[in-house]
Assembly symmetry: C2
Homo-oligomer: 149 residues x 2
DNA sequence: CTAGTTGCAAATGCTTTGCACAGGA
DNA sequence: TCCTGTGCAAAGCATTTGCAACTAG
């Protein structure tokens, strides 16, 4: 089973295309495939994994440069977010659910998502107290998961 | 003025050397210089900046590979910690003061440190609730500082 | 039609590694 | 002395970029 999103893929894709054309930007088949892979993937993926999975799953040849360019495009539109994984890996995920943070197992690299309203509020306070206009934040907890202990 | 630490540099270095020799590891002049630069630096530094500053300040030639190797060494001993800065930069800082998190200005790249006990406690809870053995965490808030607004 | 996108391959930039030599313990 | 650390240069690896061909709008 893949993650449960409130929107099914076709609706999501349709909305995305509408959004893109409103901004007078261009879409492409390649971007559609990337979104599809991200949507149906349970995990956070690297650019290489995305490329490989598209080739495997849909039998479509796609260059990794295209994936990197698309990730930039999606990040600017806030559709995708990027997470620093272990060992300098960059992991991408679709931004469909609410903001969440991550718990990463340093042994098996499993990632668990969590949300904490107290932490979210505290961040707003901290930014305010330092006269910062809050843009974004990253909170990652590293530890060893139950299975690996 | 540099950061105020509870320990002066000579005491810190003496303790470090004692610690290293207890573990039957070797120290070197290069490592001394690296620690000195980190101790007296106000900012978080990249490997390149450390190399450059040692050459500039102490007129000592040091290879960047040595700096990277030393950072690994220090990180294993928990003497130095590494922070992901903007644009994929890795910033190093001495681990002398208490644990703290960072507020980074996306415009001028200024870094402000903060500590928040509520967040620290929450993290412990989150790890516990997910049956993780907590090892470490990273919390970084991105925003625009007062000067840049 | 035409600007933006693609795939490829080459370039980039940061980090690591192999090796001969130097220097701590 | 002996073993580890150092500096250099080369290798490695993820990401970006230049370019010619292609394609969405």
């Amino acid at each position: 089973m893949h993650k449960k999103y409130e929107m099914n893929f076709d609706t999501f894709l349709k909305n995305f295309k509408k959004h893109v054309s409103k901004l007078k930007l261009k879409n492409s088949i390649q971007k559609d495939y990337i979104l599809k892979i991200l949507y149906f993937s349970q995990q956070h993926l690297t650019a290489e994994e995305i490329t490989y999975k598209i080739r495997e799953t849909y039998n479509v040849d796609i260059g990794i440069a295209t994936v990197y360019r698309a990730m930039k495009f999606f990040e600017e539109l806030k559709i995708v977010s990027c997470l620093d994984g272990l060992e300098n890996s960059k992991l991408y995920e679709l931004n469909l659910s609410l903001h969440h943070d991550h718990l990463i197992c340093t042994s098996c690299h499993k990632i668990i998502e969590f949300t904490d309203n107290v932490i979210e509020e505290k961040q707003i306070n901290i930014a305010k107290n330092n006269n910062f206009i809050l843009k974004d934040h990253v909170m990652t907890i590293y530890g060893i998961c139950e299975d690996c202990q």
